[in-house]
Structures are given as structure tokens and as C-alpha cells.
Symmetry: C2
DNA sequence: TCAACATATGTTTATTTGTTCATATTATAA
DNA sequence: TTATAATATGAACAAATAAACATATGTTGA
């Protein structure tokens, strides 16, 4: 009985390890969520939920400094969460991927409960 | 023409602001994602993806110190991402909510591309 | 070419945060 | 109740990081 318990327990532990994704995948996953884990970036991402915006628009809209917005956009772009296109003097940013919207929505659903 | 452009631009800005969730909601959203934005916590959460585990199991499984795991579990519990039940000397932790699994899966999908 | 505007970037600083170590709490069994 | 096992917690330290400030780069029109 005790042995059986230990065996199934060992099996449980083993199955958890088997199912566990590789460390690298989990590291990347954490890095992804880290991008969403800052108020400023979340505000910026949400503002772009269904429209592209240029840096000054975002800064004005959200009462943030141009520098701060630009820095955060660079981080978001490096992480492939936003993309940009230049139009004259302005650079328009938008969400890079439908997943970004999904992740935002899913999180918001959880928060709103 | 220029005026029309400006008007629609103003309208765009206005509509963004209208759609933008309250700062408090966005703050909470960022706090939620922050919980997922650390490798250690992600590993712990994923290990519990479909089974409850006690502190020592997690520590052994993931080669983490007991203290570190306990600290992180407290943070996760405070954020309502995990729940716990005591059984004798052990405390078993598990994901608190189906949303947690959904958020993890959605993020992993994005990362795996 | 020069002035202005929009954006990007480098640096410094202050804050946040994860880990470690030591110790406290809680529960079980002898 | 004492020893031991499992977990929790407090404090100190080091690393990560967001914001501010100054300045650089790039773009347009006069």
C-alpha cells in the first residue's frame, strides 16, 4: 500500500517532468509575459488595440514623455509585439500579431471578474 | 481636405481614449502579467498545469531552494493564481483558475511559433 | 543648407524584485 | 514533550529596469 502510493507518487513526479516544457521555452514565455507586466507598456499596447498610432499621439494620449514612449516601443518592437512603419517624419506603430490582442483580452477577462 | 483629415484624426484619438480601459484596470492587468513574467514562477505554474504539488516536490523537481519556492508561491497565492490545501505537514498547491491555464497556453502558443 | 519637427538613443538614478541565509511556525510521531 | 519534517517568513544583498534628461539622428520644407 505504502509502496503503491510511493510508486504512483514517483510516477506523478515523473509525468510532471515529462510534460514540463524545456527551460528555454519557459524562459521565452516568461520574457513574453514580462513585456505585458508593466503599466506603461500595457497602456501603450491597449491604445493600439485597434489602430496604429505614432509616438507623439501615444505620448499625448497617455500623458507620457516622448522619451519614455520611444524607449518602451523599442522594447516592444524587439520582442516582436509591435511593428512600425515610417510616414514622413512620423513613425506609426501597431500590434504585430493577433496573439497580442488575444493575450491582452484573455488577461483583461481574468482581471475584470 | 486638411481640415477633414484633422477632424478624422481627432476623432481617431478620441475613439482611442474612449475605448481605453480605466487606468486601474490596466494597472491590475499589468500586475497580473507581472506574475507570469518571471522564469521561476512560470516553471512553478507550468509544473502545476494539471496536478497539485507540494512545496518540496516543486523544489526538487525544478532544482530550486525550498525558500525560493515558498516565497514565490506566496506571491502567486496573493495574486489568486494558485490555491493551497494543507495535508498533514505538507501543503499542496494547485492552479486557482482555468484562466491561468488559458493564459499560459495562449502565451506558449505565441512563443512556439 | 538651414530650421523645425519627430523620433531614437545613451547615461544616470531610484526603485523594484528575486534569491539567500537564518530563523520561526506548524504538524506528526516516538 | 521532544525530535524531526515541511513550510513560512524576515532581513540583507545584488541584479534588473523604468523614468528623466540631454543629445543625436533623420525627415521635410523654406
Amino acid at each position: 500500500m505504502a509502496k503503491e502510493y510511493l510508486e504512483t507518487r514517483e510516477e506523478l513526479i515523473k509525468s510532471v517532468l515529462d510534460r514540463q516544457p524545456a527551460d528555454e521555452a519557459l524562459y521565452n514565455l516568461a520574457e513574453l509575459f514580462k513585456m505585458f507586466g508593466d503599466s506603461t507598456r500595457i497602456k501603450i499596447l491597449y491604445a493600439m488595440f485597434d489602430t496604429e498610432l505614432c509616438v507623439n499621439d501615444i505620448a499625448g494620449l497617455l500623458h507620457l514623455s516622448q522619451s519614455s514612449v520611444s524607449h518602451q516601443l523599442r522594447i516592444l518592437k524587439t520582442s516582436k509585439l509591435v511593428k512600425s512603419r515610417r510616414e514622413g517624419k512620423s513613425v506609426f506603430y501597431s500590434l504585430d500579431d493577433e496573439h497580442v490582442r488575444l493575450i491582452l483580452s484573455m488577461g483583461m477577462e481574468h482581471v475584470e471578474e
